[in-house]
């Protein structure tokens, strides 16, 4: 098999059986601090592969689209071929790691609600934090893509947090990478293992790569423990998270909007005189019983065209972050 790409902990090969797929091999490398610390731990690749397969399959069961096609053996899985987006997504429930250093927050502080952060994937710049506006402005992702990444990440957070709750562990934070297929479908890609998540028990003991970062233990013991706990994790018992999408329908530019004009006149009678124009549209709040996927967004476009808006006179757009 021909090597396509070699990362810090994985190798990606061309899949001879299909041009749409690749084979990803988890290797025994472990690194921290942008590669400043580096070791080979025998058997670690298998553990990361096993955890990733379990979590990705669990998320797939809930309708989240991931790149995983099939586990091939102990360290290799067949995955959909994707172009990895240059922005990686971190979701935090509890303050830890770089977040504490950046804002001077005490480690272990519970955040008011899950926080989604974006980071630019660039080793030479040490993967800096990037605002969503900058990511869009620089053309790394589109505005709707960044909304999509945020929504999908919050879904993943819900399902993983609930899984860990079943075994009395707490999901502190995690990092996700997403990729785009040749058809433009965005999938959850990369891995979900102790390398990319922080998990604590009730006493605050870590079961993740922090053990290696802080020289506090053998991550293989911790990862093996998580694999043992998989038996007690049941994704079917996790309730489906309701997703809310807003569809905004507005009169097209240049189309007369009598309700808006009447409203403007009424407002001016109340003394609000600097209103040049008021246009009345509609907002549809749609509650979904499955995660937001590319297919769901395609369906929404169809819904808009078929019923929610009249394309002769109205324009529409979908918002995932209202």
């Amino acid at each position: 098999m021909k090597l396509l790409h070699e990362g810090k902990a994985k190798r990606v090969y061309i899949d001879d059986s299909s041009p749409d797929n690749v084979v990803i091999e988890f290797i025994d490398n472990v690194t921290a601090g942008d590669g400043a610390k580096h070791d080979v731990l025998e058997g670690k690749g298998k553990l990361a592969c096993d955890l990733t397969a379990f979590f990705l399959k669990s998320l797939q069961k809930k309708g989240i689209e991931t790149h995983l096609v099939k586990v091939l053996d102990d360290t290799r899985m067949r995955c959909k071929k994707v172009e990895i987006l240059p922005v990686e997504v971190v979701c935090r429930n509890i303050a830890a790691g770089s977040f504490c250093r950046r804002y001077g927050i005490e480690k272990g502080t519970v955040l008011a609600e899950p926080l989604v952060e974006f980071f630019l994937k660039d080793d030479s710049l040490h993967d800096p934090l990037i605002t969503s506006d900058a990511a869009v402005n620089l053309g790394l992702v589109t505005h709707s893509e960044i909304q999509f990444l945020r929504a999908l990440t919050l879904s993943v957070n819900h399902y993983l947090s609930e899984l860990f709750k079943q075994v009395n562990l707490v999901l502190v934070d995690f990092k996700l990478e997403f990729g785009k297929t040749t058809e433009g479908v965005i999938l959850l890609a990369d891995e979900i293992s102790g390398d990319t998540i922080r998990v604590w028990d009730e006493k605050g003991e870590s079961f993740d790569k922090d053990l290696y970062r802080d020289d506090e233990g053998d991550i293989r013991v911790a990862y093996s423990h998580l694999i043992e706990l998989q038996q007690q994790m049941d994704i079917d018992a996790v309730p489906v998270r309701e997703e809310v999408i807003h569809v905004i329908v507005q009169p097209k530019d240049g189309i007369k909007n009598p309700p808006g004009e009447v409203t403007r006149k009424a407002l001016s009678r109340l003394g609000f005189t600097n209103l040049r124009d008021v246009r009345v549209g509609k907002v549809f709040e749609i509650h979904l019983s499955k995660p937001i996927t590319s297919a769901v967004l395609d369906q929404l476009t169809l819904m808009n065209m078929k019923l929610l808006s009249n394309p002769v006179a109205e324009k529409h757009h979908v918002r995932l972050d209202l």
Binding site: P258, L307, N310, V312, A313
Partner: protein
């Protein structure tokens, strides 16, 4: 021949239409509830979608009705060349269903308007206006969304093919701005499809079909409709 008069939840002019059609020889109307679906139209030679407030005008006037199952049957009859007449909410349903071009927006005044208007009939002969070419008719309107709008390209197509059948006008037949009750583009009150067998109109011909009501000008339109149904 039989004419299916469609009733959606919220339609409220179906008995007016049926009563007028009954008085026309061969009118032979029968009521079809939308929930009976496309199969209820298998014996129909023509269709009237009467006025009212189908589905409470929720979403947009006519929008919910336009995706009803029965529309498949109406679409089939229309494509087979059978006469289809949409009055008021029926016109809104036909545009929402894509059987007629354009859209009916809120009246420019944003008010519900219920009053008598004059209509100028187009010069070219259509199935529905035989013998009425260039006539000025007096027929009432009653709607909140009758403000016809379509793109400039669509308007060109409609005009160059003689498909603008009715225009709001004054008593002299002048389609002036002052005679436009709702802001419709170029005073348009009714149009036909490309084939000429589907007519949508905002005014209510069934309310101008007896002298006791103040006008019988609408009756001539419905008589033409019945004659066309028979010819098929």
């Amino acid at each position: 021949m039989t004419t299916a008069v469609i009733r959606f939840p919220g339609t409220n002019n179906e008995y007016d239409v049926i009563s007028v059609l009954k008085a026309i020889p061969d009118g032979d109307p029968y009521l079809v509830k939308s929930r009976d679906g496309a199969k209820a139209l298998k014996d129909a030679d023509s269709i009237v979608i009467p006025g009212g407030f189908s589905y409470g005008d929720y979403l947009r006037a006519g929008a919910v009705a336009s995706v009803g199952d029965i529309m498949d049957g109406i679409r089939e009859l229309a494509s087979g060349g059978k006469p289809v007449l949409g009055i008021c909410n029926g016109f809104q349903i036909l545009t929402e269903a894509g059987l007629l071009p354009g859209v009916l927006l809120a009246n420019e005044s944003a008010h519900f308007i219920c009053r008598w208007v004059y209509l100028k009939v187009s010069s070219g002969t259509t199935t529905f206006t035989k013998g009425l070419e260039d006539a000025v008719l007096r027929i009432p309107i009653a709607h909140a969304e009758g403000n016809y709008y379509c793109s400039a390209e669509e308007l060109d197509v409609l005009k160059s093919n003689g498909r603008v059948v009715f225009r709001y006008c004054d008593s002299e037949g002048e389609a002036s701005i002052g005679a436009n009750p709702n802001g419709s583009i170029e005073n348009i009150a009714g149009i036909v499809n490309e084939k000429g067998n589907v007519l949508g109109m905002m005014p209510h011909p069934e309310r101008a079909s007896r002298s006791i009501l103040g006008s019988t000008d609408g009756l001539m339109i419905l008589e033409n409709f019945v004659r066309a149904s028979k010819e098929r």
